[in-house]
């Protein structure tokens, strides 16, 4: 009867929704949503520009991001040769060792 009533236009569909929790998006997803270009890329561009302008040969990065270091060490990065010393300080020892 209920189903028939739906076709007879005397019936409608009712939704009841309860929002129980919300999980924050991962950092990468938040970057995509909030920053264009991604924040990690902006950080790298800022650092690269600063290194080139100041002719720095030493880099000290506090709480570095993996992405940043990968780019600095990457084969496509021209200013790799400019950096004679790169000092990494982070609470995540595992990440430090992995990318040293």
């Amino acid at each position: 009867m209920v189903l028939y009533s739906y076709f007879a236009e005397a019936c409608c569909v009712e939704y009841e929704i309860s929002l129980t929790k919300v999980a924050e998006p991962p950092e990468e997803r938040m970057e995509q949503a909030l920053f264009s270009p991604p924040l990690s890329k902006q950080r790298v561009e800022f650092a690269v520009q600063h290194i080139l302008e100041s002719h720095a040969t030493t880099l000290v990065r506090l709480a570095f991001s993996t992405y940043f270091l990968l780019l600095v060490r990457g084969p496509s990065c021209e200013f790799e040769v400019l950096l004679h010393c790169s000092l990494i300080l982070d609470v995540d020892l595992e990440a430090c060792w992995k990318h040293c």
Binding site: M1, V2, L3, Y4, S5, Y6, F7, E9, A10, C11, C12, V13, E14, Y15, E16, I17, S18, L19, T20, K21, V22, A23, E24, P25, P26, E28, R29, M30, Q32, A33, L70, G74, P75, S76
Partner: protein, 338 residues
């Protein structure tokens, strides 16, 4: 039902949420995806339509054109294992080593039963992970197919014309036409049953209550906790969907779930549900009515038993197999006897 033969239907079934879930338009990350993965849905789609398993090819960036050395082919042999066939003749098992700095594209070949290439999907998007490239390319192809299955009145030629926008090249138009036209004839029976009911009569007394598109009489209750979903977040909802007879005390729950997670901003649920959830904070309840669901989805959600209906009314045109709950089935049979 025929839902299991359409990309969107396969996804809905995998989430057990026919009246809530939608095939997302984007694949962001594996951890945010819920339900069957796009690649698995595509394989299922091919099996349902008696096609060969699709062929996935990974192309390493920055090479724009696939070469012998940069191209590996993944033939989906099943849901769990991959047999990787390299174009240069070598073959290995498991996933190839992933480069730290590489970017990947994926192209997919849809093959007929006789291994004839029906279409090639090669999106330009590059991804850091091979799996992301495979899932994104699969989803792109599924989304394109789904556009057609969602609108059976759209002519085949229109679908064909939009292929380029999705990075799709149809090699065998005739073979492909057989797949989609065959499906559209079957869907046509269900389409004929759609109510196309207007929201206006339902909201005639309270048009101001129609707060978001397709939703009528929206009420949000409970204190505002300040914890709201945002783009990219994963809200978890508890919900129920009921058929309600207006003016009478009749209500039947046709779908419910105590824990349903989805990603905001990728179209993972029916649009009006996401719009409502975006207005809520954790701990709040929302109630609303809608008439925008198609009757085939309502029937499919109505239960697990099935009856054969042969009606000749203007709305129910031809014999179709419909799953109905015992209660609804009894009521329906009574109505038929009258």
């Amino acid at each position: 039902m025929l839902l299991g033969k359409t990309p969107g239907g396969i996804y809905k079934l995998s989430r057990e949420a026919l009246l809530t879930a939608e095939l997302p338009s984007r694949f962001t990350t594996r951890v945010n995806w819920r339900g069957s993965l796009p690649r698995d849905i595509l394989c299922m789609f091919c099996r349902q339509h008696h096609l060969s398993e699709p062929l996935f090819s990974i192309i390493s960036h920055p090479l724009k054109i696939p070469t012998e050395s940069s191209k590996s082919c993944f033939k989906a042999a099943g849901l769990g294992t991959d047999v990787i066939e390299c174009a240069n003749g070598a073959s290995v098992n498991g996933c190839p080593k992933q480069s730290d700095s590489g970017m990947f594209k994926c192209e997919i070949k849809l093959l007929s039963r006789c291994a004839e290439v029906i279409l090639l999907c090669s999106p330009e998007d590059c991804y850091k992970k091979q799996n992301d490239a495979i899932q994104n390319a699969s989803l792109k192809l599924l989304s394109w197919l789904n556009k057609y299955f969602n609108s059976v009145t759209a002519p085949f030629e229109r679908l064909y014309e939009t292929a380029g926008n999705f990075g799709i090249h149809v090699f065998s138009k005739n073979l492909f036409r057989e797949i989609v036209i065959g499906q559209s004839i079957q869907n046509g029976h269900l389409y004929a049953m759609q109510c196309n009911k207007s929201l206006e009569p339902m909201c005639a007394n309270s048009l101001q209550d129609m707060l978001v598109n397709g939703v009528c009489s929206l009420k949000i209750e409970g204190p505002d906790s300040g914890v709201c979903p945002c783009n990219g977040s994963l809200p978890c909802i508890s919900y129920s969907v009921s058929l309600v007879v207006e003016g009478e005390n009749m209500k039947e729950v046709i779908e419910s779930c105590n824990e349903f997670e989805f990603e905001i901003g990728v179209g993972a649920v029916i649009s009006f549900i996401e719009e409502v959830v975006m207005q809520m904070s954790v701990g709040q309840y929302a109630y609303f009515n809608t008439n925008l669901l198609t009757s085939d989805l309502i029937f499919a959600s109505a239960g697990d038993s099935a009856i054969m209906l042969s009606l000749s009314s203007s709305e129910l045109l031809s014999p179709v197999t419909l799953p109905l709950s015992t209660h609804t089935c009894t009521l329906f049979c009574k109505w038929l006897n009258c």
